[in-house]
């Protein structure tokens, strides 16, 4: 088996185990750590796809910046354990309607996954690395395509983030007496 194939299965397994760990933990700090592990495995997959820039950005933005903020909040709240939702009848997740809705969503997810796996085995692989066709350093190519072909999407995302920031400031502001 090629090195890439082994690497793919190892990293994919790590990512899945870590993701299960995120929702399977009672302690939120361990959930955060599992999520960081999952992002790390994902970055490894990007490296296998020959795009180190995406991998490093994944680490800097998600595993580095965003998860530190998550950890910060969890530590400040200092909740050692999540509430035991299954014993709490008044919890919104325990209402019968919520459970049925969740079950429907789960069925959809399974169907989609099955569809994806089925088609992945029958279809030809699509060439994904059109951006890094130049090879050596894809950073310039990525920058060029962001600021030319995808400039609208890029600017729209920036505005979305700005709106979210302003919203957070407004929500956090104290009401004037």
């Amino acid at each position: 088996m090629a090195f890439e194939t082994i690497g793919f299965y190892v990293l994919a397994a790590l990512a899945i185990i870590a993701s299960v760990g995120v929702i399977g933990q009672r302690n939120p700090i361990y959930s955060v750590m599992s999520l960081i592990g999952s992002f790390g495995a994902l970055a490894g997959l990007y490296i296998l796809l020959d795009s180190p820039f995406t991998a490093v950005t994944q680490i800097i933005v998600y595993a580095g910046a965003i998860m530190v903020l998550f950890l910060f909040v969890v530590m400040l709240l200092n909740v050692p354990r999540e509430d035991a939702a299954e014993w709490d009848r008044s919890h919104p997740l325990n209402r019968p309607g919520a459970r049925r809705f969740g079950a429907v969503l789960a069925v959809f997810l399974l169907l989609e996954l099955g569809w994806a796996v089925w088609h992945a085995s029958t279809r030809e692989a699509v060439a994904l690395n059109t951006v890094s066709a130049g090879g050596v350093s894809s950073v310039a190519a990525i920058g060029r395509s962001i600021f030319t072909d995808y400039s609208f999407q890029f600017e729209a995302t920036s505005i979305l983030i700005l709106v979210a920031m302003v919203g957070a400031v407004v929500l956090a502001r104290k009401e004037p007496q």
Binding site: I29, M33, I36, P52, F53, V56, T57, I59, I60, A63, G64, A65, V68, L69, L71, F72, M75, L76, N78, V136, S137, V139
Partner: protein
Amino acid sequence: MDPVLLVQIALVVVVFHALLLSAAGMVWAERKVAARLQQRFGPTLTGPAGLLQPFADVFKLFFKEELKPKAADSVLFYLAPIISATTAFLAFCVVPFGPPTTLFGLLDRPVMLTVADVNVAVLVIFAVASMGVYGIVLAGWSSNNKYSLLGGLRASAQMISYELSYGTALAAVLLLGNSMSLVDLVNAQSGYWFGFIPKWFVFLQPVGFFIFMTAGIAETNRAPFDFPEAEQELVAGYHTEYSSMSFALFFLAEYVNMVTVSAVATNLYLGGWHGPLLPPWLGILWWFAKLSVLLFFYLWLRWTLPRYRYDTLMQFGWKFLLPLSILNLLATAAGVLYFGL
């Protein structure tokens, strides 16, 4: 076996041990510089000029009892120093420290004096540095001690704030060198202006160099920005509850991080192994000379300046350093665009 591959493997081993030794050397230098600045002698009894003092320190730590608070989270408590030390060593992987060499003709093709020549090296250093925060934050939280927790929170706030200026200062250098590989960036600084001024980026980026060093000192939690472990307020901050070798790992990480920041500054701003007078194959001497000057600067600063106040530290980072680094980036971009620097 391919001799080049053997040399690469040897480089990994050499760099790892050189970093360990450099941490020991820095402990000795710190004690000596501190003593001299305070009109003392520092260590004199252990070996010639106290040179064996760091080894005595390590042996002492090695034989100390490993203590863990009862209420501490045992997994994360032991994981935190490991994360700190690992990320510290990992960052140095992509730092080149000398010109390509064939070992005086022994090899058929030149070998780069670095563990890994990555084409996004600058970003890798940045990414690893951002992972280093976890060691400190988790140490602070898992100790279950209010001083540790405060130290950990301070550390994360400080490192997030200063990473911005750090990265923005770096971006200006990337514009000048038109690459993200540290080897390319160093080679962009070879040659001279007017025949005698070396083409080091520090002459084009004096503000950037200032920002980089300031943010670098804050990133490594050294005085005058050593809030995470401010002893007058927080006992010892995030490593209050640590003893023996887990404490030593934090200590090791701090010194290795200092070496890495100084090495990156040497490569990005001071022309790496390029310099006048010496022949090119001795460039590694230039590299070590520049690195030593920067490391001495670190120690000098620590024993000269008192600690900031915490709110002034935050204000300095967000209201002065960040706007300044953005202006610097804009000016550099304009310079590259209109004057083709």
